[in-house]
């Protein structure tokens, strides 16, 4: 029964993570194409896949309960991450909408740049609090391992990409990409933990 519940929760997690990723990529492609949807509606398209964040956060919580890795700190982390992600998207939409609509001064542009950044502060704070609040040393060690792998991966890829850009091999990538890249690295780190059986 528990095995069935765990398997079903794992499938649901995979489904919602895939749905979120596909939704975000599709929304991004729609906005980049620019022909179909004009601002501010173009940015509003991003809100739809963002709603998928809710089941995407809840499904792993169910999975954690089913696999015996749930902890109060992990639940708080999920909720804080969800709130920070929404803050990021809302900040991003406001910043892009205001920046697109009129020519703004450099100081205003700098302030607008801070809007989505506040959400990322929230994400970093949520991760820090999790590591501090998690009383289960094994779960904490696994998260720290994954975070170290994510950081290492980000530094290595960032350096490599930087030289590719310098030598004119690859296009420039905006530095705000570090947060989603780090999040992908965290997922890779958790996968490595799982494969290694750690």
């Amino acid at each position: 029964m528990t095995t069935n519940t765990a398997a079903s929760a794992k499938r649901a997690t995979l489904f919602w993570v895939t749905a979120f990723m596909v939704g975000m990529i599709a929304a991004g492609l729609l906005i980049i194409s620019g022909d179909f949807i004009q601002p501010p509606w173009g940015m509003a398209v991003m809100l739809l896949p963002m709603l998928l964040l809710i089941p995407m956060v809840r499904a792993p919580e169910r999975m954690q309960r089913a696999t015996g890795s749930a902890s109060p700190a992990a639940m708080r982390y999920s909720r804080r991450m969800l709130a920070a992600s929404f803050a990021y998207v809302i900040g991003f939409l406001i910043a892009v909408a205001l920046f697109d609509d009129r020519a703004v001064s450099k100081s205003v542009a700098a302030t607008l740049s801070l809007l989505p950044t506040l959400g990322t502060f929230g994400m970093i704070w949520a991760m820090t609090r999790y590591v501090i609040e998690e009383s289960d040393e094994y779960l904490r060690a696994r998260t720290v391992n994954a975070a170290l792998m994510a950081t290492g991966l980000l530094l290595a890829i960032g350096t490599f990409w930087g030289f590719l850009t310098t030598f004119g091999v690859a296009p420039h990538v905006p530095t705000w990409a570090v947060v989603p890249m780090w999040a992908i690295g965290l997922a890779v780190g958790q996968l490595v933990n799982k494969v290694r059986g750690a």
Binding site: T67, G68, S69, A70, S71, S135, D136, E137, Y138, L139, A141, G197, A198
Partner: protein, 63 residues
């Protein structure tokens, strides 16, 4: 590090969940320690030893 956790747990007819609850850790932690994938810290090893009423070296063995 090898350990006798599974045997000690079986002697008491405890599930991994039961032991996890008594140690106030996750079931996954108990599983990782039991299968030798994770070596507990000294404070957790003492908690395990206290729970079973045994010295640490009677539960955890050198490789």
């Amino acid at each position: 590090m090898k350990n006798r956790l599974k045997v000690l747990r079986a002697e008491r007819d405890w599930s991994q969940g039961d032991l996890a609850e008594r140690l106030q850790v996750s079931r996954q932690s108990v599983n990782a320690i039991e299968t030798g994938k994770y070596d507990p810290s000294l404070p957790l090893a003492f908690r395990i030893a206290d729970l079973f009423g045994l010295p640490i070296e009677a539960i955890f063995l050198r490789d």
